[in-house]
Subunit: 376 residues, 2 copies
């Protein structure tokens, strides 16, 4: 929450929930990444918040861009990024989208299997590819999801295949998990990466780059380590596993770049109880899972919520969205403390909502419009 | 899947996934409801699919409309419905939206607590209200969700409050759960409703209406009972609990009205494995949780998926969407059998997707556009 956001909201007269995002915070975050990892190129994960003003600012600051689709590539180009500052980082691409990216000048692509390598060899000949790996250094898989990446043994073969097809087997990528609170989490993946570098070097293929992914957290309710701590831990792990042959590195912060720059203002639509004996209040907001807060799915992200009554006595309550959908409940398994004096019509501020909110909004579920966004 | 849809898709040349919805199926569904429940007014749940052509057809057939927001009220009016055929069925409404609905002529509102009654008394004086109840006849709560409704004892008081404030305490509503496969599920809720009718009659308040809600299923992979069976079971339950004083009834089909009228055509973007030992294929489509298939959340709805290779040998696989989001996986806990001969670039048809797909689409997550829709 910044003074500029408070001032903006004080003057706002329109109805409905909105996100307000302060570019000065984005600028500070970019500078903190650049300073903490001075030898690492920053590829902002456009999907976190593709607002043109955010992309313009980051392009001016010198950021590169990690993109998930041709539309995101076009957005990065429109913001002034040259194609050499754009990575097509989605491992799942239609061959005709690869061709479009190539026509736009993009030469850096993510892969995690031989079939994807073959598409790139046909549609973007001579390009650089990096292979995403799935497992930690000790061979254990990331608990999060197996959707992206392959096991390290397979990665070496995928990159060898790329080399054989005339592509540049450029490097590796991995993801330590979004909102990663432990700066040492990069160590195991870097160990596995170094082993693949050595393995391929023996076969005459010299990888050059490690994509350290995203995962840099934003502060929600609990404190998170500063970016500096991540920079130090990552540099130590690089030295440990690559010795004096540290490869080129890139990072892909999304949440860590814009999460804490945004605040959503919403309104209490209803407060009720289900029975007279029930102590639990249900607090219904005009924002829910389908118009901006999709990341409350499984109560995954617990946003800080501020009200004008926070000095009063608090009681846990269920918080739900405004739609007629029974799954549109934000916090119920772990009820959320809100002031007893909170009233229908009151405004609430939901902090840390600069990332993964606006673009997750449904086009018009239940007739509710997508989340409005103001970048200041 | 209808011949008209097959013909339409044969001639389609555009890129990207799309929904094709056959209005003839919607017409058949409306007729089946009208015939199975001849004394019941049909209020189509607009949120299931608010396409103007769907609303136009239903308005011409004589349907009324259950709406969740002022936008949906305006959509129903635009389709030709008069305000007396519109219910503002969301129990969570801003007072200024109630006033807007009132200004548009709407006089029927859902409530589930006294605070909502007070808003309606102020913003829509003299209107009819019905109270949504939460529990089954024996006092057990619906296992699904407690988001909407209150316990029956409280409902009587809520309606008495409405009566005192000059509103018409009009009736009750409940919801037996979406995609309800048991036609007898209405029995317990009707028993509880009849008890509230008697209770309030003793206090001089004569309720007139029971809103039987939605819940009518559409056929996905398993067969579901015909609408006729629901009509018979509901009529029996009404006779049993209300004797010869059967109240006015309404139903709010959404999925049951449009679900089986729509088919999504999507494309296989990638097929891969995570390791050489891994038997499980990952099949990535160009549609996922964020551009149309939100109801695969927790693998809740299991859509029938057809391909041109369905006579070949099948093997279970994980099916995932095209975005860079690790939660964008459709079926993994219970892998989905697809033909071994399925190839990258092949089209797949996802059936039963006429409801709760287009409007759930994100505005542009990962740069992917919202789901296209063609109504034929």
């Amino acid at each position: 929450m910044t003074d500029r956001i408070i001032e903006f909201l004080r003057n706002r007269r329109e109805d409905g929930p909105c996100l307000v995002l302060d570019l000065e915070v984005v600028r500070d975050n970019y500078m903190a990444f650049a300073k903490a990892l001075p030898d690492t190129r920053v590829f902002y994960a456009v999907k976190a918040n593709p607002d043109p003003q955010v992309l313009d600012l980051l392009a001016r600051l010198g950021s590169s861009f990690d993109t998930a689709s041709v539309v995101e590539i076009e957005q990065a180009l429109a913001a002034g990024a040259t194609p050499d500052r754009i990575s097509f980082g989605n491992t799942i691409k239609k061959e005709r989208d690869i061709a479009r990216a190539y026509a736009l000048g993009v030469r850096l692509f993510a892969v995690d299997c031989e079939a994807e390598v073959e598409k790139i060899a046909r549609a973007a000949p001579g390009s650089k590819v990096f292979c995403r790996i799935l497992c930690a250094g000790d061979g254990a898989e990331w608990p999060l999801s197996r959707k992206f990446g392959c096991v390290p043994e397979m990665a070496a073969r995928v990159l060898e295949h790329a080399h054989r097809l005339g592509l540049v087997a450029y490097g590796l990528s991995f993801h330590v998990g979004s909102q990663q609170r432990n700066p040492k989490s990069w160590d195991a993946a870097l160990k596995a990466s170094a082993a693949i570098f050595r393995d391929l070097a023996e076969r005459g293929i010299n990888l050059q780059m490690v994509n350290l992914g995203g995962g840099f957290p934003t502060k929600y309710l609990r404190d998170v380590p500063a970016v500096k701590a991540y920079g130090q831990a990552i540099f130590r792990a690089l030295r440990k596993h690559f010795g004096n042959r540290i490869p080129e590195t890139i990072i892909e912060p999304g949440r860590g770049m814009v999460g804490n720059a945004g605040v959503i203002e919403a309104e209490v639509v209803l407060i009720s109880k289900k029975s007279d004996e029930d102590k639990m209040r249900w607090v219904y907001l005009d924002i829910g899972k389908f118009n901006g807060l999709a990341e409350t799915m499984d109560e995954m992200i617990r946003y800080p919520i501020r009200t004008a009554y926070d000095d009063d006595a608090m009681e846990p309550c269920v918080i739900a969205g405004p739609s007629c959908d029974s799954v549109d409940v934000l916090y119920e398994k772990e009820p959320y403390p809100l002031p007893l004096s909170l009233e229908i019509g009151a405004k609430v501020l939901i902090e840390g909502t600069g990332a993964y909110t606006t673009t997750y909004s449904a086009v018009g579920f239940n007739g509710f419009p997508p989340l409005k966004s103001y970048v200041i």
